[in-house]
Amino acid sequence: MIEDAVATPVNVATPTNGKTRVFDEHHPPSADLLNVCVHCGFCLQTCPTYTLWGKEMDSPRGRIHLIGMAVDGEVALSDVYVSHFDHCLGCQACVTSCPSGIKYGKLIEAIRSQLERLYRRPLGERMFRKMLAATFSRPQRLRKLAIALRLYQGLGLQRLARALHLTALLPQNLRTMEQLMPDLSRKECSAVLPPMIPAKGEKRRTVALITGCVQSVFTAQANAATARVLAAEGCEVLVPQNQGCCGALLLDLGQEDDGAQDDRSVRVLESRRHHRQRRRLRGNLEGLWLLAAR
């Protein structure tokens, strides 16, 4: 069920030790949520960044500890401090292994939005993040980008750039993105799904599919495959057209939903609610499930 992503806790984070408050009043990390953590460490080995680097600050337990320190006014929001939250993938694998039931998703969201407001990033980083937010949350812009990238790949420019190591000239962020670019040559990558796919055989359910941003432009074949599987399972799949971004990426960047964009896929789906039939909302993107889970 999609719930209000950033629920307001009753307990506002104010240091009781007389130190200066680090976070602002707007949805700070909740002390109640933090207290759930008993520091047992069961989350360490399920966390991708911990298993990669072996450093406590890059584990869920360490991150919770860092948030707690800021709540207590004992630490400033330095580059080093912020970096550990930037490293967090937000995958919430830790939640599956926590015996105490920590709501890590809410905590990481809360701190990311605080950092977005209270920490001034270097100029390059700020520009990059603006670019991400502006492009990836607008499927139309992404499609245009995809066309350009398809040309980049199709005309052999990518191969040339890589062979001549021109990509090394790019800043780190862009270089990584270039390396991770999927193969866009097949048209299935950006295929738009029809508004309704009928169930195969007896219809058991109606399901609405969130098509996502990056997914629908770069790897739409996954959406198509999802629709096929759902249909095979007896679901009538509704794909509301002109869906926008679900907001997950922006949340990860620490930007909050200001309600400005009407094409947010969630709103689109809610507005298309026909009868009082219960709908299952399905998305096959990591980001969407995370949004729902929070």
């Binding site: 207290n35 047992c40 069961f42 072996g54 450093k55 406590e56 004992e74 330095s78 015996p99």
Partner: protein
Amino acid sequence: MDSHLISEFRSIVGDAGLVTAPEQLRTYECDGLTLFRVVPELVLLPASGEEMQAVVKLCYRERIPFVARGSGTGLSGGALPVKGGVVIGVSRMNRILDVDLANARVVVEPGVTNSAITAAVSGCGYFYAPDPSSQIVCTVAGNVAENSGGAHCFKYGVTTTYILGLEVVLSNGSLVRLGGKTLDFPGYDLVGSFVGSEGTFGIVTKVTLRIIKKPECIQTLMAAFNSSSEAGQAVSDIIASGMFPAAMEIMDRLALEAAEAAVHPNYPNCQALLLVELDGSVREVDRLMEAVGPICTKCGAWELRLAKSDAERMAVWKGRKAAFAAVGRISPNYLVQDGVIPRTALPRVLGEIDRLSAEAGLRVANVFHAGDGNLHPLVLYDRRIAGQEERAMVLAEDILRLCVEAGGSITGEHGIGEEKKHFMPVMFSEADLDAMQRLREAFDPYGLCNPSKMFPGTDVTYQRPIAYEPHPIEKAGLAQRY
């Protein structure tokens, strides 16, 4: 810490192996026991035995005390840093180096997790027997330091039973190889002496351990009782009948509530649950299980459930293993205690714990390895209510004293660490403690390895000597210092 020194450390372990920023060092200030916190000067994470040795040599040169750390899940404060010292973590040394199934030996780096060892060999029908509840995260280095046990150690033994060889860096930076792949190395049992030394003898860089064959058939029986003493009686009767179960665990009502809330193992709704696990050949287990049921019923069990498949058994054990941390769901704070009593004293001691907790006005959830008398009373309290934390600590200590009076031990698995060092005189005489100190001095004459743990009166604040500055009169050549 001196920036030159930090650069020297950096040249050994690189940025990937160094933690220097104050906010980062704070995340290392405690392990699974949050009651005590000390911020280290530096954290070092070597990626190999060579880097480990170089780091320790540098610590030795500068006489900097160090505390080893695995995953930091210990419950006695063993990885608590020493003021003025550094933490040396093994989390980046996490490779399995050699698996020899024919001889049932595995060689691993110290940062490999306990369950990773089993995972590496379970496909071929083997497993690594010591199974502490934190096995998905805790490292072999930690297991060696604390001589960890687990639910199945009643039949299968504890960590020391399975360690054949250790490669160790001593406090002066020298590398020694204790034991090895074959059995019975001539000389003193240095491996046996090292296991359980809680990081006070040196740091491990390699572990050679034994794995064992998984049994053909394993079955777990859950028996629901109206009281822990009835369950305890059933345990005694099962042993008296000559059976040797692989594990026997008892959880009381509060612990069951917590476990149910955490992982939904679907336990029967009872005052005390007994888990009995039997393993062996199919015929043997079937036959013995037929006998266990009636024994439990005779002692008052009103429901018996048998878990036969691996999936069913895993669900049963997941609840038991999550019980500690799960208690966090039914109480804002808790203290987990670790004491041992002779099994025959179980009914009396449980009754006493009930009485003590009623007097203190606090709830105590009980989880214990009934087979070997290892109790884990979880004292529940709310820190926000004035006086509760203090009362909880006093109650926990009273329970420990009770264990010693009953002929047991102040720690079955978690170790002494920081938490119980002042308790050692309750269990050991001065001569006993002196003998232990002699062994420690033989391994670490410089007092650099985890110096403030295990023994009373060892609180250490290490202060680096201030560089000597000659007096102006000395500089002028008018006086000499001798």
